[in-house]
Symmetry: C2
Subunit: 637 residues, 2 copies
């Protein structure tokens, strides 16, 4: 069979005698040497019947060298290498044998240092002696420089988009740096913890892994949290792991069902120790991998309450400006009552400096309000936003809504200029809960929309605004953020982060009994440019205290508490105080590279529906598989 | 509540001003300084009412410093720190405040460099000013230096056995070294591949992960094999990953349902390239982590056929000697026919030098034959072993069974001495298949038994005999090693390793059609001291060839081949030749440290039944969980 014959020819191919990188680094020393090169056929130029130029891309598609084949006119006999070089499909993997020759430097521009393109070796070229194809490249695969491949063709996407390969290599270097820095500068070692764990009511829904013992299953961990706490109780003082984690959640907002986190935990440590360690590591990482960026000396800190009131978000993007202020005290009573259905609301205002020209800003407002992005703000049950545009040619600068006194006060407080947009928004007079307020979301939406319309400049990719957010409420009313399946408590409270977070101070411990919603947790989030890079906390290291939280504050049943029996046992055995943190690694890399989506920094990301479209996962379970695990499809109800 | 009060006291503890390591490294400079230390209370000695000595173990339990508390006799008032130091339970985590004082060097021996014990700081001690307990250590937990903890108490086992902690830290350093070496010396980067993969008939049974789309499931990968091949087709030239893998197999012989492997793959590479890279990495690893050990310049190589015939194993432990030889040609015909039920068998013989004294060896033989270890050899359907003991005081040196001529020949060939044990074993006259022969297993069993009986010396822990085993048969009759669930072919052939292994030579390609069982694969195993550290192969990089193997050699159905459609597509897109390898990381670390079981180098290993006895995994699925995934228990048949 011819297929066997074809395959046999590719079994014994000559090893490469050098890489293209070696040829590039010291090209003159190679001149007139015989070399064997591996790579892929690139673009060709057939000068005439006797002269062909072709690019050879090296095996990692980072460098290009020119291959030249010429045959003398009066040779009638067929030159197979010459014909192959001319006729092989582009992208065919080949072995090239030839002689290194000096080359006139190509025209300027071709060898430019554009890192998004492969480097073209300028000093030498290869005179072709022989070429051996190692596989076929099918004619039905069309690849041009601007082909957009579907997720099913992830291999072609990676192969033909250098930016994806570069991102994956960058990712690898980041993970090595973080590991080494934590080890060499802070005494951490990496400990691998099991992925076949068990289901515990920690918060998110876990994937289950059925066993052949019918009815029994492992669960994939949503984080190594419990195992790392066990390590703290086991005499391990500094734990780190770049760990795979799993959540069977409805995938929104660029989340993946499996993701990677930089996970760490420190014994005998407080929140401050962890924040110092992480801050040092992050700064060192930026210095190493993004040397151009300037970071602030010490990352600023902000409490949750401050972040929510100034930016309407627990992960504020402070680059945007547009701070939010409370103004209900300065507004006419009738305005406050007209502003929405709430009685005695809090009213907040912010300025967005869209343009210098009121007409432009007014056009922007109406375009925005007509766009789908505005829909959720218009239907906000707490009232829709009131939007004015500052315009000195209008009465009260266009701020008539506010009445004379408030308009004047606002103009001064917000330092209003022509074309500034002023947004007014009411909300319920209650303590903050959850991750954002409507005006906070509107702040982001307006900036995003204005960037898209080129009214605001795009963000400087070298600008990194880090921020620690602290003093989160330890508990959130279950009604605000219903987690699935949640911790299963019965008191209407859910741990804001997870049930292992310690109360921040002695006063917060006292609040557990009287006003648990007012208790602050020893939790801290690291925020960068409006993205939550990760969070951590001091943990409850005392078994009685942990059980008290489970049972009396969250109201878990005996059975639920029993799921955590191992943790309570471990804390009981003289566990030292400990604190830790987890950084979302996919997101960290994406933000470093200025990528919108974590999918750009994951080799094989899942789709929005959790599918790997390239390999076709998940698949239907066979009857045999179901039988093996003692399962069958649930009867339709 | 008092529990809240107790907990509050541990919320604000003083940070440590230095570590015990810092105190040890330059102890004189610390004298008379005030310090705050963290750690655990160790052994106490109450000299008298006014003088207490206590050990303080540092937070990683690697160093110990002496704490001294003395109160003056005529002080009647209570000294709380003094009382606490005397009365706190051992193992209590504490903060110690005190003054560094010079100390007489303790008696010799105490500060010895026994790495299995914590280091005792000799030059200084701490005069106690204050002590704060940070948690309680319960009186019902009994911990002595020789307590053996059950797997349920893994935290206590790790905490109180320094050798486990040291092994875990060693493991972390090995993984860093391997990653860095492959990156810095061989150009590899680490690429993370998905763990939520799909079920493919690669060989072992996969764990399934049901999704909320009823009837659909992911599968956990048995290795990153397919994804790394996809990367090879995606322009990634050097891939590595320290990867978690999963197999839902019946757990025998120290296997874990989840395990870690050092996985690598190289584009445009042959078997030789991979073996060279791995050999270099392994040598560098040993040099770094086990500097005392001497490794051979180049790892020896042996074909599968040679390993099976000389050692009866495809992972021979060459340290043992006792080579196996075929002897049927020299034996009397009637002996051959008596030796077992087979007609025309192959008969093999080996010598084990148990002792110099025939009586001792005879006693050993009868003890062994009566032990459970011998049962499988006695019931071997190919005939039980014939065991003789060389004894110069007996006729024919005790080798009467062999007849005069053969006895004399054997004596010379095997260089027999008094007390040597001679084993004769028949086997079917057929090509080798599978991992070992009965005489090969008997060779190991006899050596193990003789070591246990102290008749043979234990292995030198610094002796590492590496070996490459090559030229495995590409296919194995399905009847020999029935895999579960197997590749589902219909021709009675199973890929010896996996269906992606390339035939070794052009001649082996030709054999695919006529005599596939004779075809050799381009597979190589790295063996160390009789342990298979890992294996790899050149892969089939040609789509048509891969489909030919699936369909025509293995006889897979359309549906089964369809499961690999993604791989065939990827190979089709101009995939370059590639080869790779995977090293079992748990086993690698265990062998480096001379540990019998991989459980000694895994923080939280699973039991022989696949359970995590500490956390209690797996657990019974709740009705709600089953409902979420559209499943129910299969009806009893």
């Amino acid at each position: 069979q011819s297929l066997l014959t074809d395959f046999k020819k590719t079994l014994d191919f000559s090893p490469a005698t050098c890489s293209l990188a070696q040829l590039a680094s010291n090209s003159t020393q190679w001149v007139d040497k015989q070399v064997t090169l591996h790579g892929y056929v690139g673009a060709r130029r057939v000068a005439n019947k006797t002269l062909v130029f072709a690019e050879l891309h090296d095996m990692s598609l980072t460098s290009i060298i020119q291959i030249v084949s010429s045959v003398t006119k009066n040779v009638d006999s067929i030159s197979r290498p010459h014909d192959l070089l001319r006729d092989l499909e582009q992208h065919t993997p080949v072995v090239i044998q030839g002689t290194v020759k000096g080359r006139q430097a190509p025209k300027a521009g071709q060898s430019s240092k554009d890192e998004s393109k492969p480097m073209i070796i300028a000093g030498v070229e290869i005179k072709l002696d022989n070429i051996t194809p190692l596989n076929a490249f099918p004619k039905d695969l069309i690849v041009t420089s601007d082909t957009v491949f579907s997720p099913e063709k992830r291999h072609l996407q990676i192969k033909h988009d250098k930016s994806i390969r570069d991102a994956l290599i960058f990712r690898s270097k980041v993970s090595r740096f973080v590991r080494d820095h934590l080890a060499d500068n802070h005494g951490f070692e990496e400990f691998e913890t099991p992925l076949l764990f068990k289901s515990t009511p920690e918060g998110a829904r876990e994937f289950l892994v059925p066993t052949r013992n019918p009815g029994f299953a492992y669960a994939l961990p949503q984080s190594p949290q419990q195992y790392k706490q066990i390590l703290m109780a086991s005499g391990i003082s500094r734990y780190m792991q770049i760990a795979r984690c799993f959540r069977d959640e409805d995938l929104r907002a660029d989340r993946q069902p499996e993701f990677t986190q930089v996970d760490l935990e420190m014994a005998f440590a407080s929140d401050e120790d962890v924040m110092r360690t992480v801050e040092d590591t992050v700064k060192a990482l930026w210095e190493k991998m993004l040397p151009g960026a300037a970071l602030s000396e010490a990352f600023p800190r902000m409490t949750y309450a401050e972040a929510m009131s100034r930016y309407g978000s627990d992960k504020p993007d402070v680059r945007l400006g547009s701070e939010i202020r409370r103004v209900e005290y300065m507004l006419p009573v009738d305005l406050v009552s007209k502003i929405g259905p709430l009685s005695d609301p809090i009213v907040e205002v912010m300025k967005v400096a869209i343009s210098d020209d009121p007409a432009t800003t007014r056009k922007f407002v109406s375009t925005f309000m007509d766009s789908p992005e505005a829909a959720s703000f218009i239907s906000n049950p707490e009232g829709q936003p009131g939007i004015s545009v500052c315009d000195s040619r209008k009465p009260l600068q266009g701020l008539q809504t506010f009445g004379f006194e408030a308009a004047e006060q606002l103009e001064e407080t917000l330092d209003l200029q022509d074309g500034d947009l002023v947004v007014l928004q009411a909300r319920k007079n209650a303590a903050f809960a959850g991750g954002s307020t409507p005006i906070g979301n509107l702040r982001l939406a307006l900036h995003r929309f204005a960037c898209k319309q080129a009214l605001l400049p795009p963000h400087d990719p070298q600008m990194f605004e880090f921020l620690w957010v602290t003093d989160f409420p330890l508990f959130t009313p279950t009604s605000i953020e219903p987690t699935e399946p949640g911790q299963g408590g019965t008191t209407g409270l859910t741990s804001t982060h997870h049930p292992f977070t310690a109360p921040k101070t002695a006063a917060d411990v006292d609040l557990l009994l009287e006003a648990p919603l007012e208790a602050k947790g020893a939790h801290y989030d690291l925020v960068l440019n409006g993205v939550e890079l990760g969070g951590g906390s001091r943990r409850i290291h005392n078994s009685l205290m942990q059980e008290f939280i489970f049972r009396h504050v969250l109201g878990m049943s005996d059975e639920r508490v029993g799921n955590f029996r191992h943790l309570l046992e471990v804390l009981r055995a003289g566990c030292p105080p400990h604190a830790g943190m987890a950084l979302g690694f996919d997101r960290l890399v994406a933000v470093m590279l200025g990528r919108e989506s974590v999918r750009d920094v994951i080799a094989f990301p899942k789709s929005g529906r959790g599918e790997d479209l390239m390999v076709g996962a998940p698949t239907r379970m066979s009857d045999g598989q179901m039988r093996t695990y003692g399962l069958q499809m649930a009867a339709k109800v």
